[in-house]
């Protein structure tokens, strides 16, 4: 009888301890969920950029005299968003999303504004010169474009195969997805492989006799852009390589870019072939956009 009572008391105490443990767990989990939610939320970063850029526009537009300021940020990733400067408003949003963050800015109404929509920039240039106020991606000093072979390639690429090394698969995949989203590309595009590693011979077999051009991606550790042109149909390949390198130069202005002749099998076995090698942390969306634009330019 005595033991039974003690057991009941013991049960009562452990019951309370369990409730307490549960409540503490709920509080800890909820707190960490909240912190994690804030950490992953890009809204704060967008608000920060909207305000910072609006203040920058306020400042530059009211400076006595001419000024050019190149805005970049080491604390947050400027290239993660799209920036739309319209009359009195900076609007920031993530690509493909409808939600945007805006913040107003003032400027001298006697100036003639030239505001651009800027997609995923490394920097934003604010410039006031004379009676002109410019907000753009570049300071106007673009790297010199390379001279491309003056040959007629209009409509020559109908089927394009996209190849990649293991490290560059993400780029090929993004290019393919971007291609699928294009309404009228003017050509067909397919991947030589999926995410799983595939032997080069298998990839060559897959595209044998079925493609007009091969675009291959690879990554390196060096911050240099290399675009290789196939030895076969060299002039045609060199023209495509040239168009790609000019687009990449526009996108990554501070990065040295070279176009070379390739010895590689995958791009040499077929007609037109190019290989794009970029540093492994280069923004893949911007690389693929540059390549797709070049393919369209090549086809006229």
């Amino acid at each position: 009888m005595h033991n039974k009572k003690r057991n009941r008391k013991g049960f009562f105490i452990s019951y309370w301890v369990l409730i307490e443990g549960l409540l503490i767990s709920i509080a800890i989990v909820a707190t960490f969920q909240y912190i994690n939610g804030v950490k992953n939320d890009t809204l704060f970063e967008q608000k920060y950029f909207a305000r910072d850029l609006a203040l920058m526009a306020d400042t530059v537009s009211t400076v006595p005299g001419d000024v050019t300021y190149t805005y970049s940020d080491s604390k947050a990733d400027l290239s993660a968003y799209e920036y739309h400067f319209t009359k009195n408003l900076v609007e920031i949003k993530e690509s493909g999303k409808d939600l945007s963050v805006t913040y107003p800015f003032y400027y001298d109404n006697s100036l003639s504004p030239n505001f651009q929509s800027i997609l995923k920039p490394d920097q934003i240039v604010f410039s006031k010169k004379g009676a002109s106020l410019d907000i753009s991606k570049t300071s106007g000093k673009k790297p010199a474009a390379e001279l491309c072979p003056a040959i007629d390639t209009k409509g020559t690429l109908n089927i394009i195969s996209v190849d990649s090394s293991d490290g560059a698969w993400d780029m090929a995949d993004r290019l393919y997805k971007r291609f699928l989203a294009m309404p009228n590309a003017g050509f067909q595009l397919s991947l030589t492989r999926q995410q799983d590693p595939t032997a080069l011979e298998d990839r060559l077999d897959k595209i044998s006799g079925t493609t007009d051009a091969v675009v291959s991606f690879d990554v390196s550790d060096q911050d240099v852009i290399h675009v290789y042109a196939s030895k076969n149909s060299f002039q045609d390949s060199d023209k495509l390589a040239c168009l790609i390198i000019n687009n990449l130069k526009d996108e990554f202005q501070s990065v040295p870019a070279y176009r070379l002749e390739s010895e590689e099998k995958i791009i040499n076995k077929h007609g037109v072939g190019v290989k794009v090698v970029v540093k492994n942390d280069k923004a893949p969306d911007r690389v693929t956009a540059a390549v797709l634009d070049a393919l369209r330019e090549y086809n006229g």
Partner: protein, 179 residues
């Protein structure tokens, strides 16, 4: 009350006390998280500072601009220009142009060094309609969204009056809504 009932009661009372402490700890955790994680950005100090500097430095702001060379002299205020209240207000609203201005407003006063209105000049307003509302709300000290923050900035200036340069103070009062 017998002895057993007394023990049960005190055990229960202690359990409630433990529960109270537990809630206190849990609440502190949440409070700490909210205290250290900032999700709001208050730029009113930077915004008011840039606004005041814009008024002083802008070629079409408050500072004297040489009519021939078009050079601006930040820190020198022309009495004749300042006394043309309507003209200067229009000029200022154009120099710091905002189509729908719901973010900032200001009042600019020209004072003597002993902080009296210079020659009894009345203040110049930027975005006057909102200034009146925000200034009134800001002075209530209410911290909520409907209210506003008031910032006062004083700058020593030279007043260009009848060909002479006199010492003066430029007082810029800025009203920024909390929302």
């Amino acid at each position: 009350m017998d002895k057993k009932a007394g023990i049960t009661f005190s055990t229960l009372l202690f359990s409630f006390f433990r529960l109270f402490i537990l809630f206190l700890v849990a609440f502190s955790l949440v409070l700490f998280a909210h205290f250290f994680v900032k999700t709001k950005i208050d730029i009113s100090d930077a915004e008011s500072g840039i606004f005041a500097q814009s008024i002083i430095n802008s070629p079409n702001g408050i500072s004297y601009k040489d009519p021939v060379t078009k050079r601006v002299y930040p820190g020198i205020v022309d009495y004749t220009t300042f006394s043309n209240k309507a003209g200067l207000e229009a000029q200022l609203n154009n120099a710091l142009y905002l189509e729908k201005n719901s973010i900032i407003a200001g009042a600019i006063e020209l004072l003597t060094v002993d902080m009296k209105p210079y020659r009894s000049l009345s203040p110049i307003y930027y975005n006057k309609d909102y200034y009146d509302v925000w200034y009134t709300m800001g002075k209530t000290g209410y911290m909520g969204l409907g209210s506003a923050k008031i910032r006062e900035k004083l700058y020593p200036v030279l007043i260009r009056d009848s060909g002479e340069l006199k010492q003066g103070i430029l007082k810029i009062t800025i009203a920024i809504p909390n929302s």
